[in-house]
Amino acid sequence: MKKIWLITRREYSTRIRNKTFLLSTFLLPLVFVIFIAGSVLISTQTHTRHRIAVIDANGYFKDYLKSDSAISFDFSPAIDSTNYEQKGCTAMLIIPLLPEGQKTNYRLKYKKQLGLAGTSDLENRVDNAITDHLIFEKTAISRSKLDTIRHNSDIAQIMSYEDLGKTAKASNSGISFVFAYISGFLIYLLTFIYGAMVMRGVMEEKTNRIAEVVVSSVRPFQLMMGKITGIGAVGLTQFLLWVVLLVGLAILAQGFVPASTWKEVQELQQAGQMGNAGAALKVSDMANRLYGVRSAIDGGTLLVIFFCFLFYFTGGYLFYSALFAAVGSAVNEDPQEAQSLMLPITLPVIFSFVIMSVAVQDPGGPLAVWASIIPFSSPIVMMARIPFGVPGTVPFWQLGLSMLLLVLGFVGNTWLAGKIYRTGILMYGKKPSWKMMWKWAFRNS
């Protein structure tokens, strides 16, 4: 135990003080912010307002096609298809007589293409104009009145409850999805960024040719355990620093960017959403659902979810890191060898995401239950099931078994890595095969 702690501390402290670590930790958020600011700046600078000339045979489009910051319409009769460019229009919209109940083509003429977003935006506007015109003509209800009705009718909301006999408990698949997704995504992201770091870290003794000295002092299992926890902690530290720095920079940026630019950006966003008529509605819907979720889950459940999130997040992270360590102990100094061995490790993470989406729909189904017990998928799938209720949907034995297996899986992987290390490390320059690794792991050395 003391030796593991020694190794953990060395792995952590040498990496934290490394120049590359400091550079990447503090430069990456800066680069990220500069990149975002740059792209925002470019999109505000290059944003063009389209002026489109319209020839309308129906006569009513004038009332419904409204000009705004993205597109302005020009209905003046002086413009025709020969001179629209001279008059400063980017395109010419020609709408023939549109008989009801019949498909008719209308045309857009241009010299320079509007772009996909511009075209679909225009199409939506024309469609809406036709709908508005027909509603007004058939029912004498104006569009604004209709919008009010639509808005006021969104008053019913579903709340599902878990039946616990005498009492019922609020549950919501929305939050389990959010939690499972965050947990899964973080595990995926961290193992991808830092799994390779664990792998290279395990190869460190080999590339420095110090393996024999170290292995004659400590057991390979201790070495592996110390490396996985030490480098894992480095990964967590860097990740947390990134989050803190990004949030800090974002707050800082709000103070520095002039208000006019913010307004412009917001306008741009709105203009972009105009094409997607439902987008604004979706956002408010999402907010509503999240609010509903918060009110549906009581404090106790939240505590359980939070504890389980911490457990499964660290557990899953360590479990996969140990697998990467096993790969690192098998390959030699050439990192390219590792690529082919890494894929089989990352596949289960992707499968877990698929199973998770099933588990959210059917948290008590056999697939969800088993996938939440098996260590490869349990960190992601169990997190999708837990918000449905712990003694109810997820019985205590399942939760206990799943946690036990995850811990055992982590220790087992570390042991496996150590076994492979003991034999694999002393064979320089030989490419290992899966068959050989199996033999290294299960044969006495």
Binding site: K3, L6, I7, R10, T14, N18, E204, E205, N208, R209, I210, A211, E212, V213, V214, V215, S216, S217, V218, R219, R422, L426, K439, N444, S445
Partner: protein
């Protein structure tokens, strides 16, 4: 008391028997040479004694008790042929860390490292990194790390390779000093002149088997060919018609003779005295370890030609 006792040790890899029933004992304070051509199984044997490999069968006793790799790691110091250190770590920290891994406390380790650094005049190195050191310097550092925790068994694999004569002598003196203080030293090398100079006891391995075991002088006696060099004044005789010896070599002022079975050196001397020739010197020619080594391993497929001195 024997510090190390190895009995019927066996280890095989997928295709070959690397160590085949090796047994030997080492007394405290002795310097012991482990010799053998490449691929003889020396490194495998050492790795079993240091706990890196587990033997297939056989036993290892350390100071009379069965060897336990974890608990006994503090009693063993191992400098492998594959030299390496953490390149990015500061030298002082690294030495302390590796001593702590052996089981020393931090304060003891720091004190010891400082002591050794003073002895080897390395005090200014403490905050340097290994990548800034020359090969010889890092080898000195490695030697310090190997012996820092005062192990009772020190295993050195080619300790002098890459060292200049001054530093080699420095290390050699330290080895003698450690042996005097009671440490047992296993010394694995191909350099026979070093073995003759340093070791009390040798074992020669070939193809996984022990083929020779004894003290350096004993082995030489065992392999002597009854050759003598006799220095003579005046003209050397062209022929020597006698049953007691045969002339096998001629040099400027001396003859190399091989005494026939059943005869004694006195017979040679009497022969030349009877001829009235003045004798200036008379010495026995003992085979060098190098000759013995080559004679024993030559012709086996795994052996390699060693440089003739």
């Amino acid at each position: 008391m024997n510090i190390l006792e190895v009995k019927d040790l066996e280890k095989s890899f997928a295709t070959q028997l690397a160590v085949d029933k090796i047994s030997f004992q080492l007394g405290q304070g002795s310097i012991f040479g482990l010799l053998g051509p490449n691929g003889a199984g020396k490194t495998t044997l050492i790795r079993m004694v240091t706990g890196i490999f587990y033997p297939d069968s056989g036993s290892i006793l350390l100071a009379g008790r069965p060897f336990a790799p974890q608990e006994d790691s503090i009693r063993i110091g191992y400098m492998p042929e594959e030299r390496g250190l953490y390149k990015k770590m500061k030298i002082g920290e690294q030495a302390v860390y590796l001593a702590q891994l052996k089981g020393m406390s931090k304060s003891d380790a720091t004190r010891k490292v400082k002591e050794w650094f003073v002895r080897f005049e390395m005090q200014t190195w403490w905050n340097k990194k290994v990548e800034d050191l020359s090969k010889g310097m890092s080898q000195k550092l490695q030697f310090v790390i190997t012996v820092l925790h005062e192990p009772s068994l020190i295993i050195l694999d080619e300790p002098f390779s890459g060292l200049d004569p001054v530093n080699a002598n420095l290390i050699k003196d330290e080895i003698y000093g450690l042996a005097r203080k009671g440490a047992t030293i296993i010394f694995s090398t191909h350099r026979m002149e070093q073995v003759e100079e340093i070791c009390d006891h040798i074992i020669l391995m070939n193809k996984g088997k022990k083929i020779l075991d004894g003290t350096v002088s004993g082995v030489k006696q065992q392999f002597k060919e009854d050759l003598f060099r006799i220095g003579l004044e005046g003209e050397l005789p062209t022929t020597a018609e006698t049953a007691s010896f045969a002339v096998v070599g001629r040099e400027a002022n001396s003859l190399v003779v091989k005494i026939a079975a059943g005869h004694r050196p006195n017979d040679v001397l009497r022969f030349f005295i009877d001829r009235g020739q003045n004798i200036t010197s008379f010495t026995e020619i003992l085979p060098s370890l190098n000759d013995i080594f080559i004679r024993l391993v030559e012709g086996t497929p795994l052996s390699r030609q060693f440089e003739q001195r």
